[in-house]
Each structure stands twice: as structure tokens, then as C-alpha cells.
């Protein structure tokens, strides 16, 4: 067994070297930046930057908004993707067209999509005309706090496809007789989803959740294209904070903010991993 492991090492080495050079080294290098003062002399300042960033109101605002987007977008994408995948899974093999088309938005460049979105959510756009038609006042979707709505919708629309594809791939492995058995027992669509499908695709379901969380924490481009570096406070994200500091050569605070955020994400994922393990154990028993 030990010998087999050793013989695998040469095959793994290229990948490990890449991992070391492109991930471990920059990660460690970034830590160095985060404990220096960012001047030409790069004086060591210990954890001063961490203290300063954590106490910075804009970092706190960015973190809060980033968490808000993740907390809202992730469940929406997860739930929608799961049920759409369930439906698409039922219409195979005829549903190939739909299965392929759901992924299309994921491949479209944000700026191209944004043009369409701007037309829809412009003050005189379709969204406001619809609101007026149903007797509601127009809303400044692209100016104030209401901008969260188009941003969330855009994220969901763009990322739903990938989540559906992952769910669909996992659902292919669920044996069809289980559904037949469930139907014979009188289970409807939702019961089948909850009691048959979900327990059998837990790892994929968590993967979708984590991917959604990561992607939603990177919501920035869309807001940036619409409102620039300093948008309304309700859509100011951590990426804004880091981007603005970067253009000011404030690398030490950029890296510090990135590490703090990474630490928070690690904790969240650790909790998710723990829950997943518990759940799998319970379902297994």
C-alpha cells in the first residue's frame, strides 16, 4: 500500500508544484503584505492592519452587504435550481433543448447582459412601466437601495444554469425504480424531491450551495458597471472596498481585507461541512 502511494507521487508532482507555486506561495506572500505598512520600506506592523481593517466602517459595510447578497442569492438559486432540475429530469430525453439552454446565461459576458438589464430597469424601462400599469409608483432601480433587486435578479438569472446542470448530473444517478416505488406509495412531486432525490444527492447539493455562496460573494462587476466605484451604500460590497484601495496602492489593506474575508468564508464552509457530514450520517443510518 505504502509503495503504491509512493509510485503515485511522480504523477501528482506536477499538480502539486502548480498548487504550491500558484496558490501556496502567493497565499503566504499575501500574508507578508498584510503585516507591513505598505510603504516603500514595507515596515513590519504586526496585526495593525487587521485591527484597522476590521474597525473600518466601509469594510464593515462591504462585508455586511456581501453577506446579505450571499444569504439572499444562495437560497434562491439553490431552491430554484433544485426544482427546475427535478422538472427537467422528468422530461428527459425530450428536454435536451431546455437542459442546454439553461446554462447559456452563465457563458454570457456581464457587460453584454447588463445592457439588456439597464434597458429593463431604467427609470422609463419595462419594469417601471409594468409597475405603473398595476398602479404602483416608479422606482429608481439603478440609483438607490432598490438597486439590490436587479442585482439579485441578474445574479440568479446568470448562475441558475450552472446549479441546474450540477443538480441534473447528480439526479441522473438516482435509480428510477425508487421514484416508481415512491409514486406507488402515493408520494407526490414534493415528497419525492424531499424524501427520495435530496437524500441521494446531498454532496452535490452542498457543492451547489458552496459554489453559489462563493459566486455571490463576488458580486461586484454588475454594480460597478452601473454605479462605479462608489455606489449607493446598500450595494457597496467588499470588492468595492478592495478595488478602491488597490487603485490607491494600498496593497496591505487589500490583502488584509481579503484574508479576513477568506477566514470568514472558511468558518462558514466549515460549519456547512459539519452539517453535511451530520446529515449524511443521519440519512445513512
Amino acid at each position: 500500500m505504502f509503495e503504491r502511494k509512493r509510485s503515485a507521487l511522480p504523477f501528482l508532482l506536477p499538480g502539486l508544484i502548480g498548487l504550491f507555486v500558484f496558490y501556496i506561495v502567493p497565499f503566504a506572500g499575501g500574508i507578508y503584505y498584510s503585516v507591513t505598512d505598505g510603504s516603500y520600506r514595507n515596515a513590519f506592523v504586526g496585526l495593525e492592519n487587521y485591527k484597522s481593517v476590521i474597525q473600518n466602517p466601509m469594510f464593515q459595510l462591504g462585508l455586511k452587504n456581501t453577506m446579505f447578497f450571499s444569504a439572499v442569492c444562495t437560497p434562491i438559486v439553490w431552491v430554484c435550481a433544485f426544482f427546475i432540475a427535478m422538472l427537467l429530469n422528468r422530461i428527459k430525453p425530450r428536454g435536451a433543448f431546455f437542459r442546454n439552454s439553461v446554462i447559456m446565461p452563465y457563458f454570457m459576458p456581464s457587460c453584454a447582459i447588463l445592457m439588456v438589464w439597464l434597458v429593463v430597469f431604467d427609470y422609463g424601462g419595462f419594469a417601471n412601466r409594468f409597475l405603473e400599469a398595476v398602479g404602483i409608483d416608479r422606482i429608481d432601480w439603478l440609483g438607490g437601495a432598490a438597486m439590490r433587486v436587479p442585482v439579485i435578479l441578474l445574479f440568479v438569472w446568470k448562475n441558475l444554469g450552472l446549479a441546474i446542470v450540477i443538480f441534473l448530473a447528480a439526479m441522473q444517478s438516482v435509480p428510477e425504480p425508487l421514484y416508481e416505488y415512491a409514486r406507488l406509495e402515493g408520494a407526490g412531486f414534493f415528497r419525492q424531491a424531499w424524501h427520495v432525490t435530496l437524500p441521494l444527492i446531498v454532496p452535490s447539493a452542498f457543492l451547489v450551495f458552496i459554489l453559489c455562496w462563493i459566486n455571490s460573494s463576488k458580486i461586484f462587476r454588475e454594480v460597478y458597471f452601473i454605479s462605479g466605484s462608489y455606489p449607493d451604500e446598500s450595494v457597496y460590497t467588499l470588492q468595492h472596498y478592495m478595488n478602491n484601495l488597490f487603485s490607491d496602492l494600498n496593497y496591505q489593506k487589500v490583502t488584509t481585507a481579503a484574508y479576513i474575508f477568506a477566514a470568514i468564508v472558511f468558518v462558514i464552509f466549515g460549519v456547512i461541512y459539519f452539517i453535511q457530514k451530520k446529515l449524511q450520517k443521519r440519512l445513512g443510518s
Binding site: 505598505g38 510603504s39 516603500y40 520600506r41 484597522s52 473600518n56 466602517p57 466601509m58 460597478y224 454605479s227 462605479g228 466605484s229 462608489y230 451604500e233 457597496y236 472596498y241 478602491n244 484601495l245 487603485s247 490607491d248 496602492l249 494600498n250 496593497y251
Partner: protein, 761 residues
């Protein structure tokens, strides 16, 4: 033992010899012509029979002796220039031909109304052998078809740049009637012109028979890519050879193709490159060039493979053997600054073993600092740029304290300038240029309206209050408020932007809260809204401008205010009695502010040639124009003489003598009277000239400048990067258009400002 001693002595001597050998710049590198040192004006250059020829503006051509460096003048016979009645010739250029040199002239006529029209081009052949020149007085006449621009009663011939004559054809770069780049092929014998279109062509040179090599840059596309192509002059076909990576908007120039070695030489971003067998992937830099090689003259490759190129003031020669290139070099970004460019000559004279690469494009400085790049040793940037704001704040600049010249100069500048030149480490930047402007008032117009010096506003609220009262004060005096081209909206907009700009400077003052939603700004903008621009006699739009011109004819004093005028110690600003700077504070009794744009040079802290780079900066300091120094340094108040004064005065004296001579010859009283009138005018002009133009900066103008120079504040980057500025100006335009009110405008701007401030905490 004896042997050992001998060997030791031998090796010691060898080592000493090695140390004594300087790493000289490549042999043969030098300056052929420099306008500053020459006694003639340089027009262009050509090459024939192993000799480089230079031309002035039609009086002489000069052959350059490569061994002695001497210029030998060959006077152009007077008969080549024609002045017969209304017909006259105008000298264009000297051109290299495969059978001699050629002089190109344009023949023009003036009609009775004084309109001038193109008639034909004349080409005179010059035989040049063994340094002797013979001018052929019989010109070849060319109708220059398709190369003539006509505007009603005026016409002129398009010029050809990079021109040469080969196989009886004059070939050069120009443009067609649609404004597109073309190569013109003029058949000298048949008097026929053919235009071969080459869209996006930036330069050209001779190639093999019937073909030229051209450089192309599509300005509508990727800004970092240019290409080189072969253009077939018979078929018009273009074959792209390679795409070249460049920095910024630089393009290859000064191209020369050597048929013998199948090599293309070209200048790019301060360096000379060669592409053997036109293999651009293996192109190598072979020398540094301190001229852009952007003149109209084609570059030259001499028989012994030296490269000669020119701009409009300098002609230089470079050795093209990379093996002989100096191993020490520094790279300087000049920012087109005169002082930085001229410093080259002093520096290379003091350091002949060091090659200086002058560039005018560079990668992003902040990125370079992040990468600890050593590519550029000296940078030049504007103090109000984002990049300077970042590097100054974080100290990414080499200390310059050890240089007495630099620290002495910086220490002698106004204290408010030193704030952006000195940081905690000491002196880190050198001011190279300073351009100052502010709003001015017209004392003559003030007097005409019964206003006194006490009425001159010293703050924006006072100025706007005066504007509100002005309709009453002006009455029907006809004195315009501002220059005539302003409409109501434009003046309001101009004042608005000036208020915002001044407010940004106000924010830079110590102890001022960094915010826009303040009583100070709100008060000024509210007062601006109260001004009735229609009542000030300004037109609503351009269609009404004619009417305003009628009013202005009555006003002899000129406009009451000039919204934008230079503030300098130079005499020209002082002798204009109708314009005086009007520095204004943001609030009554506040500190007035005059905005200045300061350009500085600094040394890359990662430079591997820090000592040399500092020495280059010292040379630049010594090359800063005296007037600029007076503008920047309060204690440098020696007047600066006008270098053209004596020459111009001599010319006036000659005219006076000539008039007196003519007057003495006059046969009747009427003619004598006419000459007398001319003499009086000329004498008066002489007195006026002597009084007003003796100085570039006179003692009076300097003293006057010192009176308000204390208010000058360098404009700095205050956090509006490109995107933030866009948002900021978007809010401004929304406010100007009335889409948002003052409250919303100030609140929104303040919100963004607050975010910026908090981010930086």
C-alpha cells in the same frame, strides 16, 4: 620568485588597464546638428554619395563632414527663387535622389485681391560630388495633380514627407482629399501623380523596386499594437509583415531599409531597433535615440552603416553595431518636458560612457512600483494625477537629499509647492514645470464703470454679489462682462466648474473638513443660482451672438472679467493693462486660492542606477527655464532678458535707416511726408518695443507677480480616480441640467466623498 613577481606585475598592470578602459558609448554616436548651437534654422536633411546634407529655409544647403563634424555651406543660387510681379516661389525641401540631390519649390501667384494660388512645383537638381555642389538652374516642372487643395480663391500644394527620388519617381507620404493616408508617386518625366491609399499609415521608407515599407496604426483598435507592411506601389496591394508590441501610442518612426543586408532599422519608444531579414520577432534594440525621429525627413543609413535621424531641431547619428553599445544606461521618461530633454546633452557630456534612453510612454507607475520594476529610472508626472497621489503618499520615490543642487532648488521654492515635493524622508521630487491660471479683472473696464480697486472681489461670495449687481452698474455703458463667445449657460457652467475646482483646493488646506455638503459651498452655489445671466447681456445661445458683437463694438475697454488667464512673472502678462489676476477665497475673509498645475520629476526607488538618475535630475534642474524658476522660487527675482530683443531692435533700426534713406531720396513733398509718417510710426514702435519687450520677466512684472504668488496652490489628487471622477462629473452634469436640485447634488456628492474618506481611515 622572480617569475612570480613578474607574473604579479603583469596581472596587476592588466587589471589596471582594464579598469582604465571606460565603457564608452558606441563609437561614432553623436549630435550632427542642434538648433540651440547653430547659426541657421534647420528645415530638413538628405543623403547622397556618402555625405549627409542639411537644408535651411532656402538660402543654403550644408554638407556635414563626418570626420571633423564641420558644416560646409553651399549657397543656393538666388535665381532659383523667383519674385516677378505677382509670381513667386516658396522653398519646400531638400530631397535625396538616386542620381543627386533635389530642391523642391512651389510656384505661386498673388491676384489683385491678395489671394494666393498654387501654380506648379519646381524641382531643381543638385549635382554633388566630393563635397562640391552644382545647382542646375533649369527646373523640372510638375503640375502636382491630385495633390492640390483648393479653397475658393486660395490653393496650396500638399507636402510630401519621408520623400525620396528613385528611378525618376518622387515618392512620399501624404494624404488624399478624403484625408486618408496615401503614398504619392510622382512621375517626374511624365508629370503624372498616382496616389496609393494606405489607411492608418504612420510612416514609410523605400523598400525594393516598386515597393515601400510602411508602419500602420489603427487608432480605432487596440492601442498597444502597430504593424509593419509592404505596399506595392503598382498594384496597391498591402502585405502585413508583423504586428509590433508598443507602449501607449508610440509607433515606429524613422524607418530605413538596407537592401544590402535585408535589414529594417526603425525608432521606437526612444530606441533604435533592427530587424534582420524583416524578422520582427528577432528585432533587437541597438542604440538609444534622444529624438523622436518624427520629422518630415526620411532617416538615413550611411554607407558605413551609421543611422542618422532628426526631429525638427536636432540631427543625430548612431552606431548600429550592438556589440559596441555602452553597457551602462539609464532610462528617462521625459514627459515632453524641455528641461528633461535638454538635460540629456549636459548629462551625456559629463557621462560619455552612459547611454540615455529617453522614452515618452511607460507602463502604469503604480503597477511598476508594485512589481519593483527597474525599467524606468526617472519619471515625470503631474502632481494632480492619481499615480502621483499614491506614490507620494506611500513613499515610492527615491530620496534626493544628498544632492545639493536638487535639495537647494526644492528648498528655494514656495512653501506651498514644497508640500508636494518633500515627505517624511526629505526631498523626493523636483518641480520641472508649473502652469498657473486664474480669473482676471480688467482695471480699465472697472474704471469705466466707476468701480475702484476696493470693489475688486476677493472671495467667491463677493464676486457673485457683484455679478448680481452688475446689470445696474453696467447700464448702457456697453462694457461686456466677459469675453464675447460666452452664452448665458456657458458662463454659468464655467463659473460653476471654477467654484468646484477652487473648492477642491480649499479642501486641501490644513484643518478643513473633507466634505462637500458644507455651508461654504452651499452658500457660493446658492449665490451663483441668483445671478441673472440674461440681464448681464449674454446671448441665450449662439444664434444670438451677432447681437452681442454689436454691443461689444461700443466697448473700448474690453470685457470686465477674463475667466481664464495665465498667472506668471512674465512681462507679457504685466504689460497688458486690461488684465489683472483676481485670486478669490471660498468665503469672505478667507485665504484666496490660485490653482497651479505642477509637473515633477522623481527617481524610481528601485532604480539600479540611482546615482546616475539623480545626476540626470540635477542636469534637468539646471536646465529649467529662468522664468519658470522665478515663478517657482520667491527669492529668484533677477529679471530675465528677452533673448530676441537685441535682434529685433536691430531689425527695427535697419528698417528706420532704410526709411530715412528712402526719405532722403524722395523727390516731392507728398512722398517725403508719406515716408515721414512711416518713420514716425516705426520710431514710435521702436520706443514701445524697447520699453515693453526688453524683458521676458522684468523687475516690475516679477514684483507684481510676487504680490499674489503666495496664494498659488498646487492642484493635487484628492481621491477622484477615473471612475470616481466620472461619477462626480455625472452628478455635476445632472445638477447643471436641472435633473437634481442643489440639496440632492451636495448630498450625493458628499455621500461618495464620505465613503472615500472612510475607506482611507
Amino acid at each position: 620568485m622572480k617569475m612570480f613577481t613578474r607574473l604579479t606585475a603583469f596581472f596587476t598592470a592588466a587589471l589596471m588597464l582594464l579598469a582604465a578602459l571606460p565603457a564608452l558609448a558606441a563609437p561614432g554616436d553623436g549630435v550632427i546638428f542642434r538648433q540651440e548651437d547653430a547659426d541657421f534654422g534647420f528645415n530638413n536633411m538628405a543623403y547622397y554619395d556618402g555625405v549627409v546634407y542639411l537644408s535651411d529655409y532656402g538660402e543654403n544647403i550644408y554638407s556635414w563632414n563626418s570626420e571633423t563634424g564641420e558644416m560646409v555651406a553651399h549657397p543656393i543660387p538666388e535665381e532659383l527663387s523667383q519674385y516677378e510681379g505677382d509670381v513667386y516661389t516658396s522653398y519646400r525641401r531638400l530631397i535625396s535622389g538616386d542620381d543627386g540631390l533635389y530642391l523642391l519649390y512651389e510656384l505661386r501667384t498673388n491676384d489683385e485681391d491678395g489671394d494666393s494660388a498654387f501654380e506648379k512645383m519646381l524641382l531643381y537638381r543638385v549635382s554633388a560630388e566630393n563635397g562640391e555642389t552644382t545647382f542646375n538652374a533649369e527646373p523640372i516642372e510638375m503640375s502636382w495633380d491630385d495633390l492640390v487643395e483648393e479653397y475658393d480663391d486660395y490653393s496650396y500644394a500638399r507636402d510630401l514627407s519621408q520623400a525620396y527620388i528613385k528611378d525618376g519617381k518622387l515618392i512620399g507620404q501624404t494624404y488624399n482629399s478624403a484625408g486618408n493616408s496615401v503614398v504619392a508617386v510622382v512621375d517626374i518625366e511624365d508629370d503624372d501623380v498616382e496616389l496609393v491609399e494606405a489607411e492608418y499609415m504612420t510612416g514609410m521608407c523605400a523598400y525594393t523596386e516598386g515597393k515601400v515599407l510602411i508602419s500602420l496604426r489603427d487608432y480605432t483598435g487596440d492601442d498597444s499594437e502597430v504593424s509593419v507592411a509592404v505596399l506595392d506601389l503598382d498594384s496597391g496591394d498591402m502585405e502585413e509583415l508583423a504586428a509590433l508590441e508598443t507602449i501607449g501610442w508610440s509607433s515606429p518612426s524613422g524607418m530605413v531599409y538596407d537592401e544590402e543586408t535585408d535589414t529594417l532599422y526603425y525608432a521606437l519608444n526612444g530606441e533604435l531597433y533592427r530587424a534582420v531579414h524583416l524578422d520582427f520577432s528577432a528585432a533587437e534594440s541597438i542604440a538609444a535615440l534622444n529624438v523622436d525621429s518624427w520629422s518630415d525627413s526620411p532617416a538615413i543609413l550611411t554607407e558605413d552603416k551609421y543611422y542618422v535621424c532628426s526631429d525638427y531641431q536636432t540631427v543625430i547619428i548612431r552606431n548600429t553595431d550592438p556589440a559596441q553599445r555602452s553597457d551602462k544606461s539609464i532610462t528617462v521618461y521625459t514627459g515632453y518636458s524641455e528641461a528633461m530633454e535638454q538635460a540629456y546633452y549636459d548629462f551625456t557630456a559629463a557621462n560619455p560612457d552612459v547611454e540615455v534612453v529617453q522614452i515618452n510612454n511607460y507602463e502604469d507607475i503604480t503597477q511598476a512600483m508594485m512589481n519593483q520594476s527597474t525599467a524606468v529610472d526617472v519619471y515625470v508626472v503631474s502632481v494632480d494625477s492619481q499615480e502621483y497621489g499614491a506614490i507620494f503618499k506611500r513613499g515610492y520615490m527615491a530620496e534626493l537629499n544628498d544632492s545639493e543642487i536638487i535639495s537647494g532648488f526644492v528648498g528655494s521654492t514656495y512653501p506651498q509647492l514644497q508640500k508636494v515635493l518633500v515627505n517624511d524622508s526629505g526631498v523626493v521630487a523636483v518641480p520641472i514645470e508649473m502652469w498657473t491660471n486664474c480669473m482676471c479683472y480688467n482695471p480699465l473696464a472697472f474704471e469705466a464703470l466707476g468701480l475702484t480697486e476696493d470693489d475688486v472681489p476677493t472671495s467667491w461670495p463677493e464676486f457673485l454679489a457683484l455679478l448680481q449687481r452688475l446689470p445696474e452698474i453696467i447700464g448702457d455703458s456697453g462694457v461686456p462682462v466677459v469675453d464675447l463667445y460666452y452664452t448665458q449657460g456657458e458662463l454659468k457652467s464655467t463659473l460653476f466648474y471654477q467654484i468646484i475646482n477652487d473648492y477642491m483646493l480649499y479642501l486641501q488646506q490644513d484643518g478643513v473638513e473633507f466634505a462637500f455638503n458644507t455651508d461654504v459651498l452651499r452658500n457660493v452655489l446658492t449665490e451663483l443660482d441668483k445671478v441673472d445671466f440674461a440681464a448681464l447681456g449674454l446671448p441665450e445661445d449662439y444664434e444670438d451672438v451677432d447681437g452681442v458683437y454689436t454691443i461689444s463694438d461700443e466697448a473700448e475697454t474690453g470685457p470686465l472679467f477674463n475667466t481664464y488667464s495665465d498667472v506668471t512673472c512674465e512681462s507679457y502678462a504685466y504689460v497688458q493693462k486690461n488684465s489683472r489676476p483676481m485670486p478669490m477665497a471660498m468665503e469672505a475673509d478667507g485665504q484666496p486660492i490660485i490653482r497651479t498645475n505642477l509637473t515633477v520629476a522623481f527617481v524610481n526607488p528601485y532604480s539600479e542606477n540611482r546615482e546616475l538618475a539623480i545626476e540626470y535630475l540635477e542636469c534637468a534642474v539646471n536646465r529649467i527655464e529662468p522664468v519658470m524658476c522665478t515663478n517657482m522660487c520667491p527669492d529668484r527675482s533677477e529679471p530675465v532678458e528677452n533673448s530676441y530683443f537685441q535682434e529685433a531692435l536691430d531689425s527695427i533700426d535697419e528698417s528706420i535707416a532704410s526709411i530715412e534713406e528712402e526719405m532722403a531720396k524722395a523727390e516731392d513733398d507728398q512722398t517725403r511726408e508719406e515716408w515721414q509718417q512711416q518713420l514716425d510710426d516705426m520710431t514710435q514702435w521702436r520706443a514701445e518695443y524697447e520699453q515693453s519687450y526688453r524683458w521676458t520677466a522684468s523687475p516690475e512684472s516679477i514684483e507684481f507677480y510676487r504680490g499674489y504668488a503666495q496664494y498659488i496652490v498646487p492642484s493635487q489628487y484628492i481621491g477622484f480616480d477615473d471612475e470616481a471622477s466620472q461619477e462626480f462629473y455625472s452628478l455635476i452634469s445632472q445638477y447643471e441640467e436641472g435633473a437634481i436640485d442643489l440639496d440632492t447634488f451636495l448630498t450625493n456628492i458628499d455621500k461618495k466623498i464620505r465613503m472615500m474618506v472612510l475607506e482611507d481611515m
